[in-house]
C-alpha cells in the first residue's frame, strides 16, 4: 500500500524554453514551455505548437477567385512599405504541405527523462502528440478534464484541416527543406524558419496523425479543479483555475520539503471561465511566474511609486477585488464593438469572417450577435463551420462546474448556461462540419457572418472565404492581435475588405503583476530575465531570481527540514535518556520509514507488511 521512494536532495533546477520566434508576444496561442526538476522529477509545463509559423506556407487556392479584380484595387500601402510588400508576395510563400513548428529545444531533450507533463490550457497541448509518440516517452500527463477535451477537439480539427493539403499535394513525403530553398527566402520568412539565431530548423516536423492524437489522449490523466493527485507517492499536484479559458489552470505542486506554484496566463474575471483561483497559491515556497502574455517587449523601467505606494500585503477580499477593476466590462465593450462593426458591414451588403480560435470569446460573441441582430432588425444568418463545432458547442453546455459565477447562477435558476443552444434550435445559428456540406450550400446566402478556423489564415474554411471576400470593400475580417497581419494576409493581397484587429485579455496586466506577486507572499519568485529591469525594485520586498531562456537555473537548497510523522505506538516505546549538564533528552529510534501522499511516516518495525 505504501510506496517506497528515493528522495533526491531537494534541489530544484529550471530548464526554461521560451519561444519568441514569430509572435511578438507568445500570447494566448503560444504559452511558454518550461522544464522544472523538483524532488528529482523532471516536470514539463505545457507543450504548445507555434501555429503562427504556418504563415510561411502558401494557402491552397480554389482557383476560382484568383485573378478576379486583381488589378482593380490599387495598392493602398505607402511607398515606404512597398519594398517589404514585394518581398511578402504570394509567390514567396512556400508551396508545399506545411510542416509544424514545435518548441525549439524540446526535441533535443531525451523524452524518456521527463517524468511529468502538466498541461495548463488547450493551446499548451497542441504539441503533445509529438512528444507522446516519441520513443521512450513514459511520463505521466496531467490536464484538467475540460482542457483535455478542448485540446482533443482542437487537435482533431487541426488534423482534419490539414487533410486538405494532403489531398492536394498527394501522399508523398518530402522533406520540407528539400523542397524549398530556404536560403532564397525573404528575410522575414527565413527568420520564421530558422529562428533569430538560425538554430530552429530542427524544430519543424510534419503534422501528427489522428491516431497519434488518439494515442496521446490515452496518456492524459484528467483532473478536476483542486483535485489532489499524488505522483509517485511524493508529489501532490493540484490544478487551480486560471480564468484564461474554460478549464485552463495554474498549478500547485507540494513536495515533502516545499511547494511550488506555477502561474500561467491568468484572468481575474472572465465572462465564461471560472475566475482565477489565487487564494490557493498563497504563501508558496517558490512561485514560477510565467504570465507575460501582455508583455510588450519594451524594457520599461518601473516607476517606483506606482506600486510600492500600495498598502503592503493584506489578503482580505477587498485587496483582491482591487486587482480586478472592470476587466470584464472592458472586454464586453470590445465584443460589442466587434458586433456593431459587423452589423455595419452586413447592412452595407458585406459578409463578416471571424477566424478566431478562442472558445470563450466565440461563445460570448454568439450571444451578443443574437442580441445585436435582433435589435438592428436585419436578418442575417450566422454560420459556424468546423469539423468539431457541433461537438464543441454541445460540450460547452454540459460543464457548468467550470464556468464563472454568473453562468453558474443561470444553472441554478434553470436557464441555459450559454445562449447558443437555443439559437441553434431557433435556426439563428447554423453549424456545419465543412464548407462544402450539402446543406450549407443549399442555404448559403450572403451577406452572412461566419465563424470558422483557422486564425493563421492558412488552414480551414477561412482560407476559401477570404479568397472569396478579400476584394469586397464592404466585407469585414475580424482578427486577433498577435498574428503578423502583414504576413498572414500577404497571399490574399490586394485586400479591399476591412480588417478589424482586436486584442483580448490573455493574461494579467503587467502593471498589476508586482502587486499580485506581493500579495501572494511567496518566499521566492522566479521570473524570466527579460523582465529583470521591470521587476528589479520588487526584489526589496520579495526575493526574485531571473532565469534565462534555454539555460538551467540552480535553486538554493531549501532550509526546511523534512517533517517526519512518528506513530504513537512507536513513540511510546522510546526510552528517553536525559543528558546531564544539558537540557537535552535523547533516545535511539528504530522503525520503518514510509512515504505516502508526500508525507513521511515512521512506524514500529514489527507491524504487518501490508
Amino acid at each position: 500500500m505504501y510506496i517506497h521512494v528515493f528522495i533526491s536532495i531537494d534541489t530544484v533546477f529550471f530548464f526554461i524554453y521560451m519561444q519568441t520566434s514569430l509572435s511578438r508576444t507568445g500570447g494566448y496561442n503560444l504559452p511558454p514551455c518550461h522544464i522544472v526538476n523538483f524532488c528529482g522529477f523532471h516536470i514539463l509545463f505545457d507543450c504548445p505548437l507555434d501555429l503562427s509559423a504556418l504563415t510561411i506556407f502558401s494557402p491552397l487556392s480554389t482557383g476560382l477567385y484568383e485573378n478576379v479584380d486583381e488589378q482593380t484595387f490599387a495598392c493602398s500601402t505607402s511607398n515606404l512599405h512597398s519594398e517589404i510588400k514585394k518581398l511578402l508576395d504570394r509567390t514567396n510563400l512556400i508551396s508545399a504541405e506545411p510542416y509544424y513548428k514545435t518548441v525549439e529545444t524540446l526535441h533535443l531533450w531525451n523524452v524518456s527523462l521527463i517524468d511529468v507533463v502538466l498541461i495548463s490550457s488547450p493551446m499548451g497541448m497542441l504539441g503533445l502528440p509529438f512528444l507522446t509518440r516519441a520513443k521512450g516517452f513514459s511520463a505521466k500527463v496531467y490536464a484538467t478534464e475540460v482542457t483535455a477535451k478542448l485540446g482533443q477537439l482542437m487537435m482533431e480539427d487541426l488534423v482534419a484541416m490539414h487533410m486538405e493539403f494532403k489531398q492536394f499535394y498527394g501522399p508523398k513525403e518530402t522533406s520540407l527543406f528539400q523542397l524549398c530553398k530556404w536560403e532564397a527566402l525573404p528575410p522575414t520568412l527565413k527568420e520564421v524558419v530558422l529562428g533569430k539565431d538560425g538554430t530552429e530548423l530542427g524544430s519543424w516536423s510534419p503534422l501528427y496523425s489522428a491516431a497519434d492524437v488518439k494515442d496521446c489522449l490515452q496518456k492524459v490523466q484528467s483532473l478536476k479543479y483542486a483535485e489532489e493527485v499524488c505522483y509517485n507517492g511524493t508529489l501532490i499536484i493540484k490544478a487551480l483555475s486560471s480564468g484564461l479559458e474554460i478549464g485552463s489552470c495554474n498549478w500547485n505542486l507540494k513536495g515533502p520539503k516545499r511547494n511550488i506554484s506555477y502561474i500561467s496566463s491568468s484572468v481575474f474575471s472572465s465572462g465564461t471561465a471560472m475566475d482565477c483561483d489565487f487564494h490557493a497559491l498563497l504563501g508558496s515556497d517558490v512561485l514560477i511566474y510565467s504570465d507575460f502574455a501582455s508583455w510588450n517587449g519594451a524594457t520599461c523601467v518601473e516607476d517606483e511609486n506606482s506600486w510600492s505606494s500600495i498598502v503592503p500585503v493584506v489578503t482580505d477580499t477587498c485587496m483582491w477585488e482591487s486587482l480586478n477593476f472592470d476587466e470584464s466590462s472592458e472586454e464586453m465593450e470590445k465584443l460589442n464593438f466587434i458586433c456593431s462593426c459587423s452589423i455595419d458591414s452586413v447592412e452595407a451588403g458585406g459578409s463578416v469572417l471571424i477566424p478566431m480560435g478562442r472558445i470563450g470569446i466565440i461563445l460570448q460573441l454568439l450571444e451578443l450577435f443574437a442580441l445585436h441582430i435582433e435589435s438592428s432588425g436585419i436578418k442575417v444568418p450566422i454560420f459556424i463551420i468546423s469539423s468539431v463545432a457541433e461537438e464543441l458547442l454541445a460540450y460547452t453546455t454540459i460543464l457548468p462546474e467550470w464556468l464563472c459565477k454568473e453562468r453558474q447562477e443561470k444553472l441554478y435558476s434553470g436557464k441555459p448556461v450559454f445562449a447558443h443552444e437555443e439559437l441553434i434550435k431557433e435556426k439563428k445559428i447554423h453549424v456545419f462540419p465543412t464548407l462544402h456540406s450539402h446543406e450549407l450550400l443549399m442555404m448559403w446566402q450572403e451577406p452572412c457572418i461566419v465563424f470558422c478556423p483557422h486564425w493563421s489564415l492558412r488552414l480551414g474554411p477561412a482560407v476559401h472565404l477570404l479568397q472569396r471576400w478579400h476584394g469586397d470593400p464592404n466585407a469585414l475580417l475580424v482578427l486577433e492581435e498577435g498574428v503578423d497581419t502583414d504576413l498572414a494576409l500577404s497571399p490574399f493581397k490586394p485586400i479591399a475588405m476591412k480588417v478589424l484587429e482586436c486584442s483580448f485579455v490573455s493574461g494579467i496586466k503587467l502593471e498589476k503583476v508586482p502587486q499580485l506577486l506581493k500579495m501572494l507572499q511567496p518566499k521566492l519568485i522566479l521570473l524570466p530575465d527579460y523582465t529583470k529591469a521591470y521587476f528589479n525594485s520588487l526584489k526589496e520586498s520579495v526575493p526574485c531570481l531571473f532565469f534565462t531562456e534555454n539555460e538551467t537555473l540552480d535553486m538554493p537548497n531549501s532550509k526546511n527540514l523534512l517533517e517526519l510523522n512518528i506513530a504513537t505506538d512507536l513513540a511510546s516505546q522510546l526510552t528517553l535518556t536525559k543528558l546531564k549538564s544539558e537540557e537535552l533528552t535523547i533516545s535511539r529510534l528504530k522503525g520503518n520509514l514510509f512515504v505516502d501522499q508526500g508525507k513521511h511516516y515512521l512506524v514500529a518495525e514489527n507491524t504487518d507488511d501490508d
Partner: protein, 519 residues
Amino acid sequence: MAIECLVLGAGQEVGKSCVVVTINGKRIMFDCGMHMGYVDHRRYPDFSLISKSGDFDNALSCVIITHFHLDHIGALPYFTEVCGYNGPIYMTYPTKALAPLMLDDYRKVMVGRGEEQQFTNENILNCLKKVTAIDIKQTVQVDKDLQIRAYYAGHVLGAAMIYASVGDAAMVYTGDYNMTPDRHLGAAQIDRLHLDLVITESTYGKTIRDSKYAREREFLKAVHTCVANGGKVLIPTFALGRAQELCILLDDYWERMNLKVPIYFSSGLTIQANLYYKVLISWTSQKVKDTYATRNAFNFKNVQSFERSLIHAPGPCVLFATPGMLSGGFSLEVFKHWAPCESNLITLPGYCVAGTVGHKLSDKTTKVDVDKDTQIDVRCKIHRLSFSPHTDEKGIMDLVKFLSPKNVILVHGEIKNMVNLKGRMESELGIQCYYPSNNETVSFPTTHFVKADASAAFIRSTLTPNFKFLKDEAAEMAPVQVLDERVTQGILTMEKGQKVKILHQDELLATVGTEQAEI
C-alpha cells in the same frame, strides 16, 4: 485527540439523516434531513443538542449535504432561515441546482395537506444562496485545519460521499450510495484512505440483491401487460432520480417496441428537472454522458406533460406523479381515482417510509386508509420494484473492507440490519462497529502522529537499500532471495522549547560533543 459523533437523526431508523461529528475540535454537520413519517417536532433533528444557546455559527465549522433527498436536506432551510445558522454549507453542483425543486415540492405538499408551513419558497432560495457548490474530488480547505472532499456516490445525481480530515484524523461519511451502476448513474468510487471512522448507511444491510436486468425486465413486462390491456400505470416518484432512471428505461423500450401509449409527467417540475439533468449529464454514468454530443439521453422522445383532466380520460397511459411513496399531493390524488380499478397498475419504486400510504400498500391489505375520513378499496395491481439506488449488504461490506477504517458507525437503516452488519464487520473484518440511536453520542480516540524534524543525513541513511541475500540450502536450484529491509535507525533529541528532532547518530556526536561518544 478524539472523534465524537452525535447522531441527531437516522439513528437505527431511516429518515432525517443528521450526524454531527467533532473531529480534533472541528465540528461538522453531515446532512440536515427531515423525517417524512412525522408532522410534529420529531420530523426535524433536535438542533438544541448542538448548541443550547442557539449560537450555531460558533458551534459548527460547516454543514455538508450529501444529496438532494428530503431525508438528507429537508431541514436545511429550517436550520438556516428559522434557527439562524449562517456558517458555511457545502454540497455538490447538482445538489445545489436540484435541491430547491425538491424542497419547494415538499413545501407545496405540506401546504396542500393543510399543515403549517415550516418555511417559505423565499426561505429556500435564501438558504441555497449560502451554499458553496463543490465538484467531485475537489479538495476544499474549509479553514486552516479542516479539509473536505467529495467522492462519487452514485445514489442519485450529484450524490456524494464526504471525506473530512483535521490534522492526522480523517473520516468518511457515505450518505446514501450505490455500489453497482444503474441505468443513468455510475457506481460509487472512492480512494483508498487512512480513516479513523466511516459512517455508512445500512438501508439494505441484510439484503443481497439479484441482477438488475431481471428486475428491469419484470418492470417493463408489468407495465407493458397493463397498457396492452388498456390499463393505466401510476408510478409515484419524486421529481428527481427514479423518475429519470425509469424514464430512460421506458423511453428506450417504447422506441424498441414502437409503442404509442403516452408517457406523462405529472408536473412541469419533472420536465424542468430533465433540463437540469441535461446540463449536468457529466454527473451520470460514462455511457449516458457520451450521448451529449449526439442526442442527450435526457431528451425524452415519448414524454409529455400531464393535465389534471386526463385523470378520467379513457385509454391506457403511463404516469409519473410526484411525490413518491404516495405521501400526499398529486400522486395520492391520482391514486384515489385509479386504485379501485382492477386493470390499473401502481408501481412503487424504492423504499417507502413508515407512515406513508406507499408503506401501507405493501401489507397486501385491500382497504387502505388514505386519511382520517377516506378509505380506498385497492383493487388494482401493485408492483413493487426493488429498484432502490442503495447499496446492498455486499456493497456495504465491500466498501468498509476497502476503506478499512478503525471504526464504523451505522446509520440510516433498520436495527435488525445494523445488528447483522455489526456482527459481520466485527467477526469478518475485525473493525469496531456501533449503531447509536438518535441523540446518542459515540466517541473514540483518533490517529495521532508525533511530529519531528528529520535531518537530511538521517533520511539519506535510511534510504540506502539494505539488501540481504538468502539462499535456501535444502533445494539446490532455488533462486537467491533478495530482501531489502529498510529499518530506520536514528537518534531522537528533544531540547527544551524546540521541536523534536531526528538526527543521524554521527550528527548527534557533533552536537553534544565527543566526551559523550560512548552512548
